[in-house]
């Protein structure tokens, strides 16, 4: 297939480690258009790349200029990157603009990356939460409202415009080389805060496995909502030890104390609005995705943890 005949796929958040992995897996078969709101991403020569915010008028020019067949929406303002109002504008209103443009320009498929955070961390969570469980994260804190709203928005478009073929993916903790989310930052540190007496079960997937999951969801196109998680679990405290971190013990009672300590520490890796996620489990059931897409992650938990361990041993992290 010549370069001109290849279908065009727009990837947002192109500067992130996850997007880079996705681009690498798609670039042979597709013409990839890169979009990032932080910087103009340099990838392979000849690849179209734009630095633009989804809310700005210039964003539509990309749809006018290219014949976009599909969008893989990975670009989100991270939880620690800005105020929750800015995140709401970017993640929710920006995504609405993106979906409106997809509809206007006859895009045939949209993949939206969400997060397991939307389920909320509660002492009363059952394990293996399936996709039909309520999204309770916004009960916890205003800081997670944008995550839940982004999901709700994508859901509305999923049913309102079935021709967009929207697939929403809710992955567990993504970790590994280049990943800069709160959990990965925490595992990279030498000291990891832990709440005394609490060590919730957690799930982790390697960034390359999540990229493969996104690619398989894109290629096979079964619209819907899917958790993405491996069938392997570890307690939080054991995970940080496996990553070579020293546990920093934080009092867990009275209830307000860890919150105050987190605010005082001001760590990006351990933000106050995620405290409950280090206290109570949010274990998701990835079986629907695995069955629908015949998918199995390749990297083990130890592969993920050894990355952080080895980098620390070499003094790189």
């Amino acid at each position: 297939m010549s370069e001109v005949e290849k279908p065009e796929v727009l990837i947002t958040g192109a500067g992130g480690a996850l997007a880079q992995n996705v681009i690498n897996q798609l670039k042979e078969q597709y013409r990839v258009v890169l979009v990032d709101f932080r910087r103009r991403v340099q990838f392979d020569e000849g690849m179209s790349s734009y630095r633009v915010e989804y809310n700005k008028r210039g964003f539509e020019d990309i749809f006018r200029k290219h014949d976009i067949q599909a969008v893989i929406h990975l670009g989100r303002m991270g939880l620690y990157e800005s105020t929750h109002r800015n995140r709401y504008n970017h993640n929710v209103l920006g995504t609405q603009r993106l979906l409106d443009l997809c509809h206007k320009y006859d895009v045939h498929q949209v993949i939206v990356l969400s997060t397991f955070f939307v389920y909320g961390a509660s002492p009363y969570n059952s394990a293996l939460i399936s996709e039909d469980q309520p999204l309770k994260a916004s009960e916890l804190t205003m800081d997670l409202v944008d995550s839940v709203e982004l999901e709700n928005l994508a859901n509305i478009y999923l049913w309102k415009y079935p021709e967009l073929n929207i697939t929403i993916l809710r992955p567990c903790n993504i970790a590994g080389p280049g990943v800069l989310n709160s959990m990965s930052l925490l595992l990279s540190n030498s000291l990891a805060p832990v709440l005394i007496g609490f060590s919730p079960m957690m799930q982790f997937m390697h960034v390359e496995d999540i990229a493969s999951a996104i690619v398989v969801a894109f290629k096979e196109n079964h619209p819907g909502i899917y958790n993405v998680a491996s069938d392997d679990w570890i307690s939080y405290q054991e995970a940080v030890v496996q990553c070579g971190c020293t546990r920093l013990l934080i009092p867990s009672a009275p209830e307000g104390v860890p919150l105050r300590i987190s605010k005082m520490l001001g760590l990006k890796a351990w933000p106050s609005y995620l405290i409950n996620y280090y206290k109570y489990p949010v274990v998701i059931d990835g079986s629907l995705f695995n069955k629908t897409f015949n998918y199995k992650p390749k990297r083990s938990l130890d592969d993920i943890f050894s990355y952080y361990r080895e980098k620390k041993a070499l003094g790189i992290l």
Binding site: P123, A127, V241, V283, S300
Partner: protein, 272 residues
């Protein structure tokens, strides 16, 4: 983790290790399952509980041959004794069964996940938050689950109500029918006498966020405990109304009552 390794080295005998290793229990690469069960912690738990089971409560068991060696299973038992000792005794009996050892899961009250250390420790040895979704997911994974349908009505009842079964919740029957799970009725005799309770301090319990606070012996008394496992009961659906479920539940309750009464008749006294 270091503590767990240390405890395992000090407490877990080769025999216990061999017994637990025989139990078919799917876990992940670090020995955990999705609910927080951990194989190593379970071995420590079994080792710590052995003297309590064998020497302190001197547990006698009948009917273990009724437990199938694999597949989903609901063990429905009477609840008593203020503390969830009865659940732990059933767990130990099944884990060390000479017929078909199984790692049984116990449903715990909503108070425990919020309690530091206790919640995690209970999870590691197999206890799980009592929740119908949890229960259904575990049955899907062919687990054996012990359920006390009386809940705190049973465990917290005063001395005057001993061996009188309290109202049973109907949830377990819906689950059994929906998931096509056999039920093993279990009659427990002896736990009522471990913590004889005159009354409860309800106001203080509410203040402390506890389900109840009994005025009772400071530690459980060494009453001899008898566990009687009945024959499997299978209920076919569909259950159209709550009355249908209640009729089936009464059959299970009757069976448990029969097991309790025969156990009471067979024993010589509280401590022998």
């Amino acid at each position: 983790m270091k503590i767990r390794s240390f405890l395992k080295r000090r407490l877990v005998s080769k025999e216990t290790e061999a017994v637990v290793d025989k139990i078919p229990k799917p876990v992940g690469s670090f020995g955990y399952d999705a609910w927080g069960f951990n194989t190593e912690a379970y071995k420590i738990g079994i080792s710590l509980f052995r003297p309590i089971y064998e020497k302190y409560f001197r547990v006698e068991v009948t009917g273990l041959e009724n437990i199938p060696e694999d597949g989903r299973l609901l063990l429905i038992a009477n609840h008593s004794g203020q503390l969830p000792i009865d659940g732990a005794l059933i767990g130990y009996a099944l884990a060390t069964s000479p017929h078909a050892p199984r790692a049984v899961r116990a449903m715990i009250e909503r108070f425990f996940p919020k309690a530091p250390f206790i919640g995690n420790i209970l999870n590691e040895v197999g206890a799980v938050l009592g929740d119908p979704v949890n229960c259904a997911k575990m049955l899907d994974r062919e687990e054996a689950i012990v359920v006390f349908p009386e809940g705190i009505r049973g465990s917290g009842k005063p001395w005057s109500q001993r061996y009188k079964l309290q109202r049973f919740g109907l949830g377990f029957m819906h689950l059994a029918v929906q998931t096509n799970t056999p039920i093993i009725p279990v009659g427990i005799v002896g736990c009522e006498e471990t913590m004889p309770t005159l009354f409860h301090l309800n106001g203080l319990a509410k203040l402390l966020g506890m389900p109840y606070l009994p005025v009772t012996s400071p530690i459980p008394l060494p009453a001899k405990v008898h566990l009687h496992f009945g024959k499997p009961m299978v209920f076919e659906g569909p259950i159209e109304t709550e009355d249908d479920a209640a009729i089936n539940v009464e059959r299970v309750k009757d069976e448990i009552n029969t097991l309790i009464q025969s156990g009471l008749e067979a024993r010589n006294g509280w401590f022998s």
